[in-house]
């Protein structure tokens, strides 16, 4: 057991930057913007997170992965607090995260398409000649699109 006095807040943030989203493994939880605060006291390390979608089943797994990542650095007295307010928004996703999503083949959330119908950019050929197939995709956070030019179906990370 490491005395928490020797652990800096920066170190905790650094470790949290290695924890990825189980559904979209190219994104870290920092890219997603779901870590709201880190509080280090003598006894515990508290990580404050906020859920993306209310029913997102990945949240339980993310909590577990945070514990595992910290335990690997011998940080065991960990408290994970979930807060709902202010509600998570895709605005909190980092620019680096959006770029990683695109490379992964998922169109990043774009505020200009609050009602995503037309003009979502195909992550493969960059065409904006795309169409909405379904507002609901393989996970709660995504909608299903198809590119009319390269014909590839792709996921769009919905604005939230």
């Amino acid at each position: 057991m490491v005395n928490n006095n020797t652990i800096s807040k920066e170190k905790i943030w650094e470790i949290l930057g290695t924890v990825t989203d189980p559904e979209v493994p190219v994104l870290t939880i920092l890219d997603l913007g779901i870590v709201r605060d880190v509080v280090v006291t003598n006894e515990t390390v508290e990580v404050v997170i906020t859920p993306t979608y209310t029913g997102c089943p990945a949240m339980d797994m993310i909590s577990m992965n945070i514990r595992i990542a910290l335990a690997e650095h011998k940080i065991n007295n960990v408290k994970i607090t979930s807060v709902l307010s202010p509600a998570w928004t895709t605005d909190w996703m980092s620019e680096a995260g959006k770029q990683k999503l695109k490379t992964y083949g998922i169109a990043a959330p774009n505020k200009n398409f609050e009602i995503p119908e037309d003009g979502v950019e195909c992550p493969l050929c960059n065409s904006i000649n795309t169409r909405l197939i379904s507002q609901f995709g393989s996970t709660a956070c995504k909608a299903l699109y198809q590119c009319n030019d390269c014909k590839e179906p792709f996921d769009y990370f919905k604005c939230h």
Binding site: T54, G55, P57, S85, Q135, F136, G137, A140, H160
Partner: protein
């Protein structure tokens, strides 16, 4: 307050359970995924309400009530969900229309609750309203598509409407535990009716006449359907108390 939280939790849980019956049975894959995504959102909302209720009940009584014990170990007469949520899924038209009627209501309700003096209720509502926006958009499109579609789709959604309409009044009749919460049910009903009627017009549907309204769910008086849902949903915890994954 806990009764009201249980009412909100039960309604979203039971509707979630009903919608999840489509998992693997949707008319096409994309719509199967859509209705089960909605089911998941509702389950998430219900967990938030149960967790908060469990916290308040445990504080008050000093016992350990959990979200799981509230969902899995209460009897039908203790459930406070609206009757609309427990009705059988019926055909696709019936499922769609129920979701639409409920989502329009839930959006208006969450609009009120997000400014509630209880900050946790306000937070849950503010979070949920983003999801409900998608549910409305999706179900509304389907109501219009079916109503203004083929003769068969029109007949089916019309039949669904004549069944479901009787269960809509209950949404706006406050139970005793809803009276002093600062919720304006009259305003909600007025806004809801305006929205629903506008969509019905586009869908070439009209509100059925001479319907006798059904109520009771909010106070634990349910149709026999609820018992069947709970028997299935609670079976594992009833058979193997405390079982965990």
């Amino acid at each position: 307050m806990t009764d009201y939280l249980l009412h909100l939790a039960d309604t979203t849980l039971i509707l979630s359970q009903r919608n999840s019956e489509w998992c693997g049975h949707g008319p096409i894959l994309e719509q199967d995924i859509a209705i089960t995504n909605i089911s998941l959102d509702l389950l998430g909302q219900s967990r938030n309400f149960y967790q908060y209720a469990a916290e308040l009940i445990s504080q008050k009584n000093g016992n350990t009530v959990t979200e799981d014990s509230l969902a899995y170990l209460r009897d039908p007469s203790e459930f406070k969900n609206v009757l609309l949520a427990e009705l059988p899924r019926g055909d696709w038209a019936n499922t769609i229309l129920r979701q639409y009627l409920f989502s329009e209501f839930q959006f208006i309700l969450f609009e009120q609750l997000k400014n509630h003096s209880d900050t946790q209720i306000a937070a849950i509502a503010a979070k949920g309203i983003k999801e409900t926006t998608y549910h409305i958009r999706w179900s509304k499109e389907w109501v219009i598509r079916l109503g203004d579609g083929t003769a068969e789709s029109h007949d089916r959604i019309k039949a669904a409407l004549s069944t479901l309409w009787a269960y809509t009044d209950e949404l706006f009749i406050p139970a005793e535990y809803e009276v002093n919460l600062g919720i304006d049910f009259d305003i909600m009903k007025k806004i809801w009716l305006e929205k629903v009627i506008a969509v019905f017009e586009e869908a070439t549907l009209s509100i059925p006449e001479n319907i006798v309204m059904q109520t009771g769910g909010k106070n634990g008086l349910h149709t026999s359907e609820l018992k069947l849902i709970l028997t299935e949903m609670q079976q594992l915890q009833r058979t193997y108390p405390g079982a965990e994954w």
